[in-house]
Amino acid sequence: MPESVRALVERYKPPVTVGSFGAVFTDTSQFMDIGYGDVIAVGQSHYLVMGDERERRFGMEDPKFWVKRCIELESGAYRILKLEFQETFDQHIGPLTITCHRSAVKEARILRLVTGDPRFMQGQTYKDDHGNLVRVLERVAGRRLDLNIEDIHAEHREYFHEIFPGILTRFIAACRAIHHLHQHGETHGDIRRDHLYVDFKTGDYCWIDFDYGYDSVENPFGLDLFGLGNILSFISGKGVHAIQDVDAEAHGITEADCALFFRHRVVNLRKLFPYVPEELNRVLMHYSSQSEVYYETVPELLDDLEPCLDTLRRA
């Protein structure tokens, strides 16, 4: 490591031990070789690598070797560096297989589009010496929405009447954010409840991770609308309600009351919680296996969803 960069590390290293001074990378093509103690130099800044990011889902941890947790040495700020990793892969949604791609170009484009928009994670993109797109991301000062909701210790009725209207208000704003992408010909591509964060200060919602894309010619926003429906079902139900976990017979729940893609997830929440307004339940039922009409655009969804908010506030 050159003395100049070594001095930067000495000066700005985080309050953790940096056991070794690694190499300085100006070409990130071989991202598997970049690890703890190395420095990535792009965009006239130096980023000390603290480790690979991991995806935590369903209690499992998956290392993402192309995503590095870093300290920007010039500022001392925490940054996440996403290195270019183009891949095509199959995503399974219930019985369906969808061919998706991961694209640095797409995410870089969206980062530019949403600069300064707190509804989205923020960052800038630089090219390394080899022309790879390196996205330098700010950490979202917030927490995953689903974890927040799981931590609410209240019965569903109390949650639904006291807390949910506020959550739905912010979720509607998050839907509008997705519409903003669609209006610019973009999709989020990977709308999941763990990709929506709650800002610590404002409580507003912030989308992260938009490097996934997929080909859907006739219904370009279908997968995003599907994701929004899943989150809506989660926040309305204060979690997922699997058919095997409820007294299906007592509630008269059949497969027709479950999600189109996940035949075990109850979306007809009114059968579980009779105080769920009919208007909201109708929206949820668009995602059920018995639905014949689907939302294709965010405004279609919001046209039905926004009146629910009024109903909830009046209740």
């Binding site: 791609h101 010619v217 219904n219």
Partner: protein, 151 residues
């Protein structure tokens, strides 16, 4: 609209070929028909490709595939008895907006086509939710024309 002025919307798929085969069997013996093979061209998603060259290569492959298909489709129609001079080909570029279905309907209206023929993939409900269905949209939204959906 003239029902003998027929628009067959094709891509290079087996479903489209079934639609052409069906239309040929019906139209071959008919008098005074005029058949237009319509291909709605949509460039592959650039984000899927690592480089401009890879993307252009795919565009070229798609183009050749469609050219071969249109040649074959014309041959099927002519072999069934439709005069060669009554078969036309048209390619229309379609960007993200409007949809393929809307582009087909725009062509149908502009060209005064009284019959619209399209193949159907046979999507499941889930696939239709996520991907959308051109044939379903055509059936729902077509005006002043008959729609033949060939499964």
């Amino acid at each position: 609209m003239d029902f003998r002025n027929i628009l067959i919307s094709v891509d290079a798929s087996d479903n489209a070929l079934r639609a052409v085969d069906y239309a040929a069997a019906i139209l071959g013996p008919a008098k005074g028909v005029r058949v237009t093979l319509l291909y709605i061209e949509r460039a592959p998603n650039r984000d899927r490709f690592e480089s401009e060259e890879a993307w252009l290569g795919q565009c070229q492959l798609d183009h050749e595939r469609v050219f071969e298909f249109l040649t074959k489709a014309r041959a099927v129609l002519v072999a069934a008895g439709v005069p060669d001079t009554a078969v036309f080909e048209r390619t229309v570029l379609c960007s993200a907006e409007p949809s393929v279905a809307q582009t087909i309907l725009d062509v149908q209206q502009e060209g005064g086509f009284g019959t619209l023929v399209v193949g159907r993939r046979g999507l499941t409900k889930g696939e239709e939710f996520l991907f959308g269905s051109v044939s379903t949209k055509l059936v729902h939204n077509a005006k002043n024309c008959a729609v033949w959906v060939v499964q």
